[in-house]
Symmetry: C2
């Protein structure tokens, strides 16, 4: 079992989820300028995370069913962040405050250990993403992400995959066919 | 005191460094295709981390004096990685194996706690770096990195800063003057 699944199971057993939340398709969980330090579990649905430093929406992450997720930078810094988080289909979330999560990590050594594993995986994934962004060939970026994240191509609309891969929807269509 | 300094102090007090290593300027600590799972402390000097997926060297990180560092992806995955790590001046390192480091984390709760803090900071920094890479304006990239990492501009040669910022040395010179 993956550390993330063990941690989810522990939170379920201890009944630490504090509330739940349903977002309709297109609805925002967070917008630029807000703080969000909560931990979420995606019961169903899918979300995308994007930035808009200039005029274009830059999709940088997705959150899938049966996974934990947080507003990365704001969860860690506890400060306002530039992230937008939007449901791309109807999405049900379980919610836990950071203070409750911190209490869990400080009282349960196995939970703290799993969280450390999860952070290491996250560091590794972010490193892979950085490498993707530095590769100028669209075909090579597509090949790397397809090998790493087949789920992306099953669950996420074409236009958001193209945005994540930093290419036009037309280039992505061409690569999918080839 | 920062968690990283507390962790370094603890490793020093427990005398867990297993060896030391001196690299001459230009010498490589790691090249593409190799595994490196060791933890390092930079006693003096400076290193740069780069990728070369196509023909160009892409500088992605620096390791400064009095800091810990690892070959990020390989340390976590324990698999061969694409990273090159090179001393950009004469550099002295203390070295610890991953197995000794893991024993420390599993036996000392405070060390495990500091490592969790360090991983969270790393996740946050990587997120900032990803945002940098997505910003198309060289002036804005320069402004963000200058605000975040003044040390970079004191310790690292101009050409490597330009590579890190994804701009030509000429553009960087122009931005420094403006």
């Amino acid at each position: 079992m993956r550390s993330v699944d063990l941690l989810i199971e522990k939170i379920n057993v201890l009944q630490l989820w504090e509330s739940s939340l349903t977002l309709q398709r297109g609805e925002f969980l967070k917008v630029k300028g807000s703080v969000d330090t909560r931990l979420y579990f995606v019961e169903s649905g899918c979300l995308r995370v994007f930035l808009m430093p200039e005029e274009e929406e830059l999709t940088i992450r997705f959150a899938y069913q049966n996974n934990l997720f947080v507003a990365l930078d704001s969860f860690i810094s506890e400060a306002p962040s530039d992230l937008y988080i939007q449901a791309i289909k109807k999405t049900k979330l379980r919610v836990m405050s950071k203070s409750a999560f911190t209490r869990l990590l400080n009282s349960e050594a196995d939970a703290a250990h799993w969280w450390r594993d999860i952070l290491e995986v996250l560091v590794f994934q972010q490193f892979e993403r950085e490498t993707d962004l530095l590769i100028s060939s669209p075909a090579e970026r597509y090949r790397r992400v397809l090998a790493r994240s087949p789920q992306l191509f099953q669950e996420v609309p074409h236009k958001y995959i193209a945005s994540y891969l930093r290419m036009t929807p037309e280039t992505l269509s061409r690569l999918k066919k080839s």
